[in-house]
């Protein structure tokens, strides 16, 4: 869990001095301990999977299908998919449509600005393996730019396909967190000095 990166508190002086120790280290250990708790892990998975806010990034023509998907007929807000616009608050990037070189740079910067638990849905044939613009001099595949979690085929894919991709992403988050839980309970974290007793 990303905790507030507070500056290290150094001891004040001998008389009336108190040693708070390295607050970062203490906070990190506490975070690891919480996350290795089974109930907390279930809660975190539920929280992550039901609040997927995509960054407002319409790369190309599949954007119309993403707009139709967030429209009233295939309302994706039911699944907690509220397009909120600001990369800082979102945890999902939906690459909808062809990635030209210029747009690939922008997608990369948006992805890097986002806080840590983040996922990528690549939508449309053009980002899977080229689509009808496969040998154009200006297009790039999604896997060159970002680590993609879910691919949605189709040109443009139907809004129902986007909805299923969000549900598939929920399963993937569940697996990721379950793997994290198994690793942390097995004491794999002890290497970083987290005493499990």
């Amino acid at each position: 869990m990303g905790l507030v990166l507070l500056p290290k508190v150094i001891e004040v002086g001998d008389e009336g001095s108190f040693y708070l120790g390295n607050l970062d280290q203490v906070a990190k250990r506490a975070a690891e301990y919480i996350k290795s708790n089974r109930v907390a892990n279930k809660m975190i998975t539920w929280g992550y999977s039901y609040s997927l806010w995509p960054a407002y990034l319409v790369t190309a023509c599949c954007g119309t299908e993403m707009a139709a998907a967030s429209g009233p007929r295939f309302d994706l807000e039911r699944l907690g998919f509220l397009s909120y616009g600001n990369p800082r608050q979102s945890n999902l990037v939906v690459i909808d449509g062809t990635l030209s070189i210029k747009m690939a740079k922008v997608v990369r910067t948006v992805w890097e600005q986002m806080p840590e638990p983040k996922w990528v849905i690549a939508m449309g044939a053009c980002v899977l393996d080229g689509g009808i613009f496969w040998n154009s001099y200006n297009t790039v595949l999604a896997r060159d730019v970002l680590p993609v979690d879910v691919y949605v085929p189709g040109c443009p894919p139907r809004p129902e396909a986007l909805a299923t991709s969000v549900i598939m992403l929920k399963e993937k988050i569940k697996e990721q967190q379950a793997k994290y839980l198994r690793r942390s309970r097995k004491g794999a974290l002890n290497k970083e000095g987290v005493s499990s007793e």
Partner: protein, 421 residues
């Protein structure tokens, strides 16, 4: 009260040598921004007033013209539809008309009528999408959802006809691929009646909404003379008082048989562009009704192509009314020459220029989408407005990727403009 903004004739040189006072802030309203589509609007803002705007586009440039030289003629149809994905039928119609002018063939009347019907439905969908984007830029997600919802019956209509949601590739050289299903007329009538009383709701909630009027009246004003000089297209041009519609000026695909009038407004600001699109939706409904009433029967493919079809293709055509992609279509090689075709799309005039050297692939293929022709809005209209007006002007000119749209000729405040010495 309409904002009185003087219009001073202005050339691009003076704008580019604008002397920046130190209080100017450069804002990158980039592609990942709720108020910009697929482009980066670089705006120099002083306080709340926009001093200079430089659009940085090309984020969705995929080189359709270069790729079409590498592929046979038929394969250019899906590529032409992608740049304006909300108005695919008109894009498809434009390219196929240029190809037919090269080949020297003429589709039968029933195919022309079906083309007009699908083109008008696609225009309605394009206008509704424009209103939806305008709503979200103005901060009201209600209109976005309403317009997106009103688009769905028309998407179902064409999905029933062609099977695809948006990318139909329905029009081929010589005619169309599918005949209208039996109950198409009734479903179309239901959808049109639904849209008519929906426009009443729009009037109540959105068009006469005092906030919308206050925010878009007098914003992005464009004089008729300015519109002509900047070469803007489509509803933005007619909203400034220039009565020009290619369906009337250079009638194509059976448009001269329908009587519809071209609505125009005089003020040329964002509000009149909104009203212009609502009027055009009403005209399209009128055209579709006439076309459905007077639909002639007969073949939907060019007579000569029908004869050269193989017996199996003919059997499919007679039973299901469906034209399969015959070998003849895929091995088209029109004679040497060039052709130009102009189509009035939902967003404006789509220009196609096709040069062939007798081979299987086009020698040179030039597409100018309406968005590209409206680019001067940004450089010439936006300076002098408030920062909050950028989405209002930009949303209302119905921008769609890959190239942005703009309107009007309006000059920055003289205070910010130091005449180039």
């Amino acid at each position: 009260m309409t904002q009185e903004i003087k219009t001073i004739p202005f050339t691009y040189e003076a704008l580019s040598q604008l002397k920046m006072s130190e209080g100017v802030l450069e804002l990158q309203i980039g592609p990942a921004h709720a108020g910009s589509g697929h482009m980066r609007i670089v705006a120099w803002v002083e306080g709340d007033t926009v001093v200079k705007v430089d659009p940085d586009i090309g984020f969705v440039h995929r080189g359709v013209e270069k790729l079409s030289e590498d592929r046979i003629y038929i394969k250019a149809i899906p590529m032409v539809e992608r740049p304006s994905l909300v108005d695919t039928v008109n894009a498809n119609l434009g390219y196929v008309m240029a190809l037919e002018r090269l080949l020297g063939i003429e589709p039968p009347p029933r195919a022309q009528y079906i083309r007009v019907i699908t083109a008008e439905i696609s225009r309605i969908m394009s206008h509704l999408y424009g209103i939806a984007i305008y709503g979200i830029f103005m901060g009201s997600s209600t209109v976005f959802m309403w317009a997106m919802a009103d688009r769905e019956p028309f998407i179902d209509l064409l999905q029933e006809l062609t099977g695809a949601r948006i990318t139909y590739s329905h029009i081929i050289p010589g005619g169309v691929r599918w005949d209208l299903p039996k109950d198409f007329a009734e479903n179309a009538e239901i959808a049109l009646k639904y849209l008519e009383n929906r426009t009443k709701d729009y009037e109540k909630v959105w068009i006469n909404n005092p906030v919308v009027v206050a925010r878009s009246m007098g914003v992005g004003k464009l004089s008729a003379e300015g519109a002509i000089r900047l070469g803007v297209v489509g509803p933005n041009l007619r909203a400034s008082g220039v009565k020009y519609d290619i369906r009337k000026e250079e009638p194509y695909a059976a448009y001269e048989e329908f009587d519809f009038e071209v609505p125009t407004f005089k003020e040329g600001d964002s509000y009149s562009r909104l009203l212009q699109r609502v009027e055009e939706i009403k005209q399209s409904i009128h055209i579709i009704r006439q076309a459905l009433k007077r639909l002639p029967d007969g073949k939907i493919i060019y007579e000569d192509y029908y004869k050269r079809m193989s017996p199996l293709m003919k059997k499919i055509y007679d039973e299901k009314g469906r034209v399969k992609f015959t070998l003849m279509l895929t091995s088209l090689s029109p004679p040497k020459g060039e052709a130009v075709s102009r189509v009035e799309g939902g967003r404006g005039e789509m220009f196609y220029y096709l040069v062939s050297d007798g081979g299987k692939a086009p020698y040179r293929f030039r597409v100018v989408t309406p968005s590209f022709r409206n680019l001067p809005f940004f450089t010439h209209v936006m300076p002098g407005h408030k920062l909050a007006d950028i989405p209002v002007i930009y949303g209302r000119i119905d921008y769609f990727p890959p190239r942005p749209i703009d309107d009007g000729l309006f000059e920055p405040d003289p205070r910010y403009l130091v005449a180039p010495s």
